[in-house]
Structures are given as structure tokens and as C-alpha cells.
């Protein structure tokens, strides 16, 4: 048992995290508890609920430009599930998105090691729950996800215009993050976006 509940971690950046339960897995009690604590730790949580495929989760994570994905898996097949998620993020150029997970006793110690070695950020175990407490686990998860998003794009849109117009999801997502998190630094770039809208026959510019 943990000795006292630690205080919630205070994020330095705006953090966004996707939460879900794995594919063909209806066990949503644990992820619901976790996501509530993540929310109350000051994180914006995009919750997908149960039975979500890797592709759905990765698409969502990229479109939403999150720092991390937190998944529970109680239905087996976790090795394949987490590794595939890691691979798909890498393939989509989004390996900066961290993966966290949990699956109670269904994930064996040797499997846990295998997943950590593969690059999964951390799989929490029932023992972690006992030693760290729920808030302690979430603090660890949130602290490891505490990095800025949208920063690298703050200078200008040069070079990304093409990929924006090709509807590259990552580009769109990062520009939105830039305007959300670094409005001053990205002012110039946002002006270019507006000019782009103004020159398009389809839409009216807003702001």
C-alpha cells in the first residue's frame, strides 16, 4: 500500500493525451479511472473508449497532436498491439508520441521487459499501483509527457504550405498546436495561413 497520496504533478506545457482500451477489449473500468485522474492533473484527454484498433488510435493521436497515448489491454495480444502501435507511429513520423499502458496481471513480467525494450515508454503493473498509488502512476506518466507541441513550426509556413494544402494531417495538427500554444511566436505563420484562405475561392477567412 502507498503511504499517502502524492500531490498531482503540475504540467509546464499544455499536455494532450489519447486514452482508450485495446481492440476487441471491453474492459473499460480501469482506463476510465485513469483518464479521470489524468484530466484532474491538468491534461486535455481525448478519450476513445473501448475496442479501438491501433490504426484508429494512431490516426487520432496524430490529428490531435498529442504528447502521449495511454492504453489498457486486458484481452491478450498486448505484445503485438503495443509493438504495432509503436511501429505505426514511427512509420507515420510520429515517434515522438509516447506510449503508456497497463493490463493488470495479464501482462507478464518478461513481456513487460520486452515491451519496454521495444520502446514502449512504460507499462504499469499492479505492483506499481501498490507502490506509487494511482496519482503517483499518473504523475509519472504526465511528467514524462510534459513537452511542448507546435513549437518547431513557429517561424514560418515556408515548405509546409504544400503539405498543408495536401491535407497532411501532421502538418495541420502541428499548425493548430502552434496557434494554441505559441500564438505570439507563430503570428507570422498564422498570417500566411489567413492569406491562403483569403486567396481561396472556397472559404471565407475568419479572424
Amino acid at each position: 500500500m502507498s503511504t499517502g497520496t502524492p500531490a498531482p504533478y503540475k504540467p509546464k506545457n499544455h499536455i494532450r493525451i489519447v486514452t482508450a482500451a485495446s481492440l476487441f477489449d471491453g474492459h473499460d473500468a480501469a482506463i476510465n479511472i485513469m483518464r479521470r485522474i489524468i484530466q484532474s492533473t491538468g491534461v486535455e484527454v481525448i478519450h476513445l473508449g473501448h475496442d479501438r484498433s491501433v490504426q484508429e488510435i494512431v490516426n487520432c493521436a496524430i490529428q490531435e497532436d498529442v504528447q502521449a497515448i495511454a492504453i489498457t489491454s486486458y484481452q491478450g495480444g498486448h505484445l503485438e498491439f503495443f509493438k504495432y502501435m509503436y511501429d505505426l507511429l514511427e512509420e507515420r513520423g510520429a515517434s515522438n508520441i509516447k506510449i503508456f499502458g497497463g493490463g493488470g496481471g495479464t501482462i507478464l513480467p518478461n513481456e513487460l521487459r520486452e515491451l519496454h525494450e521495444y520502446g514502449i515508454c512504460r507499462i504499469y503493473t499492479p505492483d506499481d499501483g501498490r507502490s506509487m498509488g494511482l496519482q503517483g502512476m499518473i504523475n509519472d506518466l504526465v511528467a514524462q509527457s510534459d513537452r511542448p507541441t507546435g513549437k518547431m513550426l513557429t517561424n514560418s509556413l515556408n515548405g509546409t504550405i504544400e503539405s498543408l494544402q495536401n491535407k497532411d494531417q501532421q502538418t495541420i495538427a502541428r499548425i493548430i498546436s502552434a496557434s494554441e500554444n505559441f500564438p505570439d511566436e507563430s503570428a507570422e505563420m498564422l498570417q500566411q495561413v489567413k492569406d491562403l484562405v483569403k486567396s481561396s475561392p472556397r472559404h471565407r477567412c475568419w479572424a
Binding site: P11, L23, F24, D25, G26, H27, D28, A29, Q39, S40, T41, G42, E44, V45, I46, H47, L48, G49, H50, D51, Q55, N59, C60, Q63, E64, Q75, G76, G77, E80, F81, K83, Y84, M85, G105, L108, P109, P126, D127, L164, Q165, K167, I172, A173, I175, I176, S179, E180, P183, L190, V193, K194, L196, V197, S200, R202, H203, R204, C205, W206, A207
Partner: protein, 927 residues
């Protein structure tokens, strides 16, 4: 750009999802971006961005979605929301949807910047004058009155239309023309949403002069709720509660009357012996006669016949009839000390009141209200022991079935499916699917899999019964099962008629040039496997036999098969989450299966196993488990009745499944269930005897097993099994002690089985079949739990019945609350659990970690995928044809199971589910 605003809880996300789904179908190349804004919590800075959970259509290459939190501004529209909109505009999406929960001023601002604005509201805004306060009715182009199935929606639609016209100064307009639509976004292919969609697209097209021209076909229909339970029946649970309470009140007054009569009778009798006071005898007799009029003649008869009833249990054998066959049963067993232990022990009451109460509320097993059991005696040679299996491919599970049922006269096979199958999908190389093939259940995706799975067991034999734990795709798996059973009988016919080599030739012909595609049983047949069910792998009986011969065999088989398919979709939504289709469509499928069973005379296969097990496992206490489960059961009854089915034709096909924990209430769970059901069936629904009999399978609670000191778990299971057997369960599964940490091994399963066998065969008292009757505490507990269950029925009624309560997630909430209560007491130690929080070993009773667990092998997984590919290759065109028939029957509202019986011969599980998604709608997740 389309701006969507509306109050929280009006169903905006579902509605947007439905619009997007139609847009993607309507336009093959157009793209859509959605920006969705939810409020931040001011205190923590965190936010729940929960729109995606409700959406099914957005996982599409032509869709981009971004969820934004309002952050510090707490306005729906801060600067960066506008920026975000501009970004997706710059990315040149064809349609941009901005969805916000209307907070203050921002609503109108959205409208100013949208090409078209849509306001979503519900009919429960209060009085019509309230509408004058809604700013959005001034500004929005289009109004959706969602949740149109709510009470008062027609009036609301009229009022909102009027208000809209007033606000827009359209005094001369016809009501019909104002863009206000009643919609039910939760309903598949809702006509109201169709009209709304068309209006949205046309308005956008008009206002922006864009090239968006919808070719979407719509009808002029209004949204109309397809009711599962007819509106005038939504109080069914309280009706039942009242019905049962009325019976209890009646029984009580009858008891008092009987007791008074008994007193008068005794007085008369003793006066007679006195030979004096004879003058009071005539008035006493008259009094007796007048009171007797208050006693139901049937009750008087019960009292009069009591000595005879007692006698029938006192003689050497008891005679009774089951479906016109006379059955003789010994009334006694003899102990080693030569004591004659009665199977049924009766009360020694003399007073008529007590006697009548006992007969009206308890009675002998096999008699109304069936408190002590539904059959007069336990079936001999058939212990209520089920044999569980499900791991890897069908061959491995088949071998396991043969292993666990060896030497058992009755083969009661329980099947666990892997999660791929449970969610109606096909095995696939994609890693997130691949990893789950054949894990914690067997992988079954086509008829040949089912044939192999049950091969070597004659599915039409009276001592074989199969239970299948599957819900979402239950109807499809039932199709596989029925066809497997039919083809077994075809095979027996072929062998009897000496047609084997002829049939072999036919099969070879059918696979001409495709020999490699023919499926085979992998590996050696296990001990006890006679090969039955494997001759027709890769084909069906109708491909090798004359049509009339086949039809005859089919019809006989359907009447003979015994078993259960879980198919309980209500508890899935409430507790377990393996829903795949919309709830309405799932219920329709259940109704179609049941209707088919009635038409074909399927009497021994239960179309649904109404399950409390998962409700209890999710954390519900025993009373909630029982109340929710019975409530779900009555919901199916009401639904089937509303479809015009005869209660006496379907009620005997319903069965129940409970969890048996260690709490006191579990000692009487069967007694209460049987009594509540019987009273309702007999008196509320006027159903016959067979329909009044609630049969249930029970499993010891998995939740009561702990990962510490796992040896203690068998002790818990033993006590729970004893509860169940004394309570006259119809079948029982005992969990293995290591199930809390791993997949049970042969050793642990054997021990679990021994628990049941020891109680049934060794424990002397278990030779008696009504050991709980006559105990004060058992009677009192039964009354207490029964009262609590009926009160819960009232609470569910207040929430609109089971389906209404599900909409507001009442059941889920209650289950979670009770789960938390248990966890808290366990954590503080107020609920003592040995080896967990009390009585710890010197080492502190650490959590056990399994060394190794049983998982499906690579060969098994790969073979399952190969089998599937071969099936698709062999039946390519046929499959298309049957899938399209299936679609048609769903659209034209004919019995889907009819088409499923055919489609399941040629198509895989995944093919069928995908087809049904398109015509029945996918399940929409809840938070």
C-alpha cells in the same frame, strides 16, 4: 463551413457523426474537417474531449478531426479556435464543421462566421415561452430537434417551428417549409437525419454557390422511433412488481382465512367430543361455511389434498409425467447407516394457515411458485456439470472438450470464444488482430471451424448440450452451430445409406482444381473422437444430398439440438461491452432468431441466456445482479410479445445465468429468481407451467477469487458451489483456483470439477433435494431479497424501463458505485478476506505471478487465417450472393436469421458482420 451549436447532452456528436457518415457516402471524393470544442475545467486546467468516443464515421482517410479545449478563456470561441478553423480552411477541406457546446455569446459569433449554422436542441426545454429566450432560434439557419423519441416531441416540433417563423418573420410560410427537423441521431438511418442532412447540404450549396450537389435520396417520412417496448408498456417492470405484491397480499389474506377456518374446525371438533354446548354448533358451522367462501376453492383443495401429497413422497417411489412420459423416481436414498434419507422433505405443519402459506410461497420442487426448484426431482445421470474449453484453433479446443468430457455420460460443452470472434471479426495478419487470435477463447470464423470444434460429439444426441458464450455476433455463430449439427446428421445418413464413396466423389468434384482449398482437421483425433462431423468439411449437406432428404434432416436436427447461446445484448451494454451492432438491431436479431426457433420447432436450444454473471463480475452486488438480470429478462419478454410471438412458445426458450459469490444473498438467488419469474409469468402474462419455470446456469464468482494465497480460492469456490447445489441450480460451473492469475491448467480444472463431484456424490446431505426449505433464515432472506428486487424494478420504471435507464447509463453507474464500495471495504479491511487483508502468511501473502500462460501458437493463428482465405477463395461469388440476400432481408424487414442460416454456409463471420453494419448500424460507445 457548417457551425453546429447546442446545449450539452443534446446529442451533437452523434448527430455530427451521422451527418459525416452521409456526406462520405454521398460524395466519393470530398473531404471534411471537424473542429470540436469542449470546455476546460477551470480548477485543474484539464479537459475531457469526449466527442470522438461517440463517433464511428470519422476514422476515414477523407476526414480530419481536431478536439480543442476552451482553456483559460472558457469561451467556446477563443482566438485559436478561429485560427484552427482557418488552418483547415487553408488546407482546402471541402466541408468544415465547427462544433461547440453553446457557451454564452459565442454561439451567435459562430453563426456570423459560418456559411450555414445548425442549432441542436431537445424537446425537453420546458414551456413554449422558454423558446423566446433561446437566441439561437433567431440566428440559426437550421434547427435539429434531436432525441425526437422523447415525450412531447410532436408539440415541441410545432412550437419550435412557430418560434422559428416568428423570429424569421416568415408569417406566410407553411409550417412544413421551415427548416426545423425532428431527429433521432441514436437511431440507424433515421429519416429525420436524412432530411436534415439534405437540407444542410442544399443550404450550403445555395449560400456558397459551391459545387456541392447532393445526390442523396431521401423520403418524406418523419423521424419515428422504432420502439422496442411499445410506449404504453414502458411501465412493465412496475406492473410486474405490483402484480407480484398483489399475489403476496392475496396469499397472506388467504393464509389468515385458512388459519381462521382451521381454528373453527378444531373448535367444532372438540365441541363435538364434549357432547354439550351443541347449540353453538350450527352457528359455528354456518360461520365456518361463510368464512370458507373467502377462501379460494383451489386453496381449500390444496389443504384437503395435503395428506395425499405427503403420502406421495413417503412411498418407495414417486410417479410423475414429463411431456407425456411417465417417470418413476425413488423417494429415498440409503446411507451407510441404513438411514432412509428422503429426497424431498416436507413440513410437519398442522395448521392450515402455515400449510397454505408454505404451499403458496414455497411448495415442493416442480410446483408453482417453484421456489425450491423447477423440476420435481433432479435428473439422474446428469450432474449439473459443464465442461469448459476455448483456446487456440477449433482442433485444440475440440481435443480439450474430448478430454474434459471423457467418462462423463452427459456431454455439456461450454465454449469460450476469442475476442476476435466475440467482436464479430475475422482472423487477420494485422498485428492488433493477429495477437488476439485464439487467445482466452477459440477462434471460430466459419462453418468449418464450428464443425471441427464440435466434431466427435453428436449434437443431436439427448445427452449432448452445448453452450456458447457469445453476444454481439450470437446470431451468426448460432447459424454456424445449427449448420454444423445439420451436416452431422447428413453425415450419419450418408453412412447409414452407404453413400460415403458417392459423396466423396461429389466433394472431389466440387473442389475440382481447388483440391488445396479443402479444409481438414489438423492433427490426430483425440481419444473418444469417432470422426463424426468431418466427412462434410468444406461442403454442406444440401450440396451432396437430394433437397428433400436434406430438408427432412434439417428439420429433425433443429428439433433435436440442445444448448444455449448467450446472446444477451442488454447486459453487454450495461456491463461487458462486447456490443458490435446498435442495440435496436441486436434486439431485432434476437427476435428473429426466436421467431425462427418457434417456426422450426426448436425446443431444446435456448435462444438467449439472460446473464447476471457479467453484471456481478463488473461489481454489482447480488441484489442488483438479480434485479437487473430479471429486468432484462422481462424486457425480452415484452419485446417478443410486441412482435406478436406467443409467450408459451418463447418463454421456455429463455434461460438465465447467474454468478454465485460468497454473500448471504447468494444462498437464495435461485429461490428468489424462480419465485419472481413464476409469479409474473403465471399471473401477469397468463403463461403456462413450462413458461413459469426459470432455469439457470450458475458459475462461482471469478471476482471472489484472489491473486494472493490462491490455494484458498478452492475453499471459496466450494462454499459457493454448495450454495448453488442446495439452491437447486440447473447447471453449475466451478472456477479453478488459479483463474485469478492465469488460464486454468488441467490440474486446477480437475480440482474445480472435483468440488462439484464431491458435493454431488460424496456429501450425504446433498442426496436430499430441498435442504434449504424450512429454514427460518432462508425464508426470511428470500423475502428480503424478493422485496429488494421489486423495489429496484420500480426504480428502473422511473427511468423509463430498462432501455430508458440504459440511455442515462443508470445501470452502469450503479454497478460502478457498488464496485467501488466493495473495493473500499476490501481496502480498509472492513470486509475481511483471508490471505488478502486478514490472516496474512509470514511472508505477507504476496500476489502470485504465473510463470507461463497458455496462448495460441503461431501455427494455429496462421492456419486460421489460411482457412479463412481458402473459404473466401472457394465461395467468392456464392458468398456475395448470400450477403446481398442478407442485406435485402434486413432492409425489407423479413426474418434475418432465415437468410443467416444460408449465408453462414458460405460466408465468414467478418463478411457477415460487415454486411450487417451497413444495414443495421454499428454500436455507438458510451463514456
Amino acid at each position: 463551413m457548417l457551425g453546429v451549436t447546442g446545449t450539452g447532452g443534446s446529442g451533437k456528436s452523434s448527430l455530427v457523426d451521422e451527418l459525416v457518415r452521409r456526406f462520405l457516402v454521398d460524395f466519393e471524393d470530398k473531404t471534411v474537417a471537424i473542429i470540436s470544442v469542449d470546455p476546460s475545467r477551470r480548477k485543474s486546467g484539464g479537459a475531457l474531449l469526449g466527442d470522438r468516443i461517440r463517433m464511428n464515421a470519422i476514422n476515414h482517410p477523407r476526414v480530419y478531426m481536431r478536439s480543442l479545449a476552451t482553456r483559460q478563456s472558457n469561451l467556446a470561441l477563443s482566438k485559436y479556435v478561429k485560427d484552427a478553423v482557418d488552418v483547415v480552411k487553408a488546407a482546402q477541406f471541402d466541408l468544415v464543421i465547427l462544433e461547440t457546446s453553446g457557451i454564452g455569446q459565442s454561439d451567435t459569433e459562430i453563426i456570423e462566421h459560418s456559411d450555414v449554422s445548425l442549432y441542436v436542441m431537445t424537446p425537453d426545454y420546458g414551456a413554449a415561452t422558454q423558446l423566446e429566450k433561446i437566441d439561437m432560434l433567431d440566428f440559426a439557419d437550421i434547427i435539429a430537434l434531436n432525441k425526437f423519441d422523447k415525450r412531447g416531441s410532436i408539440d415541441a416540433l410545432r412550437d419550435v417551428k412557430k418560434q422559428y417563423q416568428r423570429n424569421h418573420h416568415q408569417w406566410n410560410h407553411d409550417d412544413q417549409e421551415s427548416p426545423v427537423f425532428g431527429t433521432i441521431a441514436s437511431q440507424f438511418n433515421d429519416p429525420g437525419i436524412n432530411r436534415l442532412y439534405k437540407c444542410v447540404i442544399n443550404t450550403i450549396s445555395d449560400k456558397t454557390n459551391s459545387e456541392i450537389h447532393s445526390s442523396f435520396q431521401i423520403t418524406d417520412e418523419m423521424s419515428e422511433k422504432v420502439f422496442i417496448i411499445p410506449p404504453n408498456r414502458t411501465r412493465y417492470l412496475s406492473d410486474i412488481a405490483e402484480n407480484n405484491r398483489q399475489y403476496d397480499r392475496w396469499a397472506q389474506t388467504q393464509q389468515q382465512t385458512a388459519q381462521t377456518l382451521y381454528g373453527i374446525r378444531k373448535t367444532i371438533d372438540s365441541l363435538r367430543t364434549l357432547n354439550s354446548h351443541s347449540e353453538v354448533l350450527p352457528p359455528l358451522e354456518a360461520h365456518y361455511e361463510s368464512i370458507k367462501k373467502e377462501l379460494d376453492p383451489k386453496n381449500y383443495e390444496l389443504i384437503e389434498n395435503w395428506p395425499e401429497k405427503v403420502q406421495s413422497y413417503k412411498s418407495e417411489t414417486f410417479l410423475f409425467k414429463v411431456r407425456n412420459t411417465e417417470i418413476k423416481v425413488k423417494n429415498y436414498t440409503e446411507s451407510l447407516s441404513h438411514t432412509r434419507v428422503p429426497k424431498i422433505s416436507l413440513p410437519k405443519y398442522e395448521g392450515w394457515g402455515d400449510l397454505l402459506r408454505w404451499n403458496l410461497q414455497e411448495n415442493v420442487p416442480g410446483s408453482f411458485p417453484f421456489t425450491s426448484g423447477v423440476y420435481p426431482f433432479k435428473r439422474e445421470g446428469e450432474d449439473p456439470t459443464r465442461m469448459f474449453a476455448g483456446e487456440g484453433g477449433p482442433e485444440r479446443t475440440n481435443q480439450r472438450f474430448h478430454y474434459v468430457s471423457r467418462d462423463m455420460p452427459a456431454k455439456r460443452l461450454s465454449t469460450a470464444f476469442d475476442s476476435v470472434t466475440l467482436y464479430g471479426a475475422d482472423p487477420h495478419q494485422r498485428p492488433d488482430i493477429y495477437g488476439k487470435i485464439g487467445n482466452s477463447g477459440v477462434s471460430i470464423c466459419c462453418l468449418d471451424d464450428a464443425k471441427k470444434l464440435y466434431s466427435g460429439f453428436n449434437l443431436s444426441h439427448s445427452k449432448t448440450s452445448v453452450s456458447m458464450t457469445i453476444n454481439g455476433p450470437a446470431a451468426i455463430i448460432t447459424g454456424f452451430f445449427m449448420n454444423a449439427a445439420i451436416d452431422q446428421q447428413c453425415e450419419l445418413y450418408i453412412r447409414e445409406q452407404g453413400l460415403v464413396s458417392e459423396v466423396e466423389d461429389k466433394i472431389t468434384n466440387l473442389y475440382q482444381g481447388q483440391e488445396a482449398l479443402r479444409p481438414r482437421y489438423q492433427g490426430d483425433l483425440p481419444k473418444g473422437h469417432d470422426g463424426l462431423g468431418l466427412l462434410l468439411l468444406g461442403v454442406t449437406g444440401d450440396q451432396v444430398l437430394e433437397q428433400d432428404v436434406y430438408n427432412d434432416i434439417k428439420s429433425k436436427t433443429l428439433k433435436a439440438v440442445r444448448g444455449t447461446v448467450q446472446a444477451d445484448i442488454l447486459k453487454e451494454d450495461q456491463a461487458q461491452n462486447t456490443c458490435i451492432f446498435s442495440t435496436e438491431f441486436s434486439l431485432r436479431l434476437m427476435g428473429d432468431v426466436q421467431e425462427y426457433f418457434i417456426d422450426q420447432g426448436v425446443r431444446n436450444f435456448y435462444s438467449v441466456s439472460i446473464s447476471g454473471y457479467h453484471i456481478a463480475e463488473a461489481g454489482a452486488n447480488p441484489i442488483t445482479q438479480l434485479a437487473f438480470t430479471l429486468a432484462n429478462g422481462f424486457t425480452y419478454v415484452e419485446y417478443f410479445l410486441s412482435r406478436g410471438m406467443d409467450i408459451n412458445k418463447f418463454a421456455p426458450n429463455l434461460s438465465f445465468f447467474f454468478s454465485n459469490g460468497i454473500d448471504a444473498e447468494y444462498a437464495v438467488i435461485g429461490r428468489v429468481a424462480r419465485r419472481v419469474w413464476a409469479k409474473a409469468m403465471k399471473l401477469k402474462y397468463q403463461a403456462d407451467d413450462r413458461s413459469q419455470m426459470l432455469k439457470y446456469h450458475i458459475q462461482t464468482s471469478g471476482r471472489s477469487l484472489h491473486a494472493q494465497e490462491i490455494d484458498f480460492n478452492d475453499i471459496r469456490t466450494t462454499l459457493q458451489a454448495l450454495y448453488a447445489i442446495y439452491d437447486n441450480c440447473n447447471s453449475l460451473h466451478t472456477n479453478a483456483y488459479d483463474e485469478a492469475i492465469t488460464t486454468p491448467t488441467e490440474e486446477s480444472v480437475r480440482r474445480a470439477m472435483a468440488i462439484q463431484l464431491i458435493i454431488n456424490k460424496e456429501l450425504g446431505l446433498a442426496n436430499n433435494e430441498n435442504p434449504l426449505q424450512g429454514s427460518f433464515i432462508i425464508e426470511e432472506l428470500t423475502d428480503l431479497v424478493e422485496t429488494a428486487v421489486l423495489l429496484e424494478f420500480d426504480r428502473i420504471t422511473e427511468r423509463g424501463g430498462v432501455l430508458g435507464a440504459m440511455e442515462t447509463m443508470y445501470q452502469r453507474g450503479k454497478i460502478q458505485e457498488e464496485s467501488l464500495y466493495y473495493e473500499t471495504l476490501k481496502h480498509t479491511g472492513e470486509l475481511p478476506i483471508m490471505g488478502v487483508n486478514t490472516f496474512l502468511s509470514a511472508k505477507g501473502s504476496p500476489t502470485m505471478v504465473p510463470g507461463e500462460v497458455i496462448r495460441a501458437t503461431k501455427e494455429e493463428k496462421v492456419y486460421q487465417i489460411e482457412m479463412l482465405e481458402r473459404l473466401h477463395q472457394h465461395y467468392g461469388e456464392d458468398a456475395e450472393k448470400y450477403l446481398s440476400n442478407l442485406k435485402q432481408s434486413a432492409i425489407q424487414n423479413t426474418n434475418i436469421f432465415h437468410s443467416l442460416m444460408e449465408a453462414s454456409k458460405y460466408c465468414s463471420l467478418g463478411q457477415i458482420t460487415q454486411t450487417m453494419f451497413a444495414v443495421g448500424g454499428q454500436y455507438r460507445r458510451n463514456m
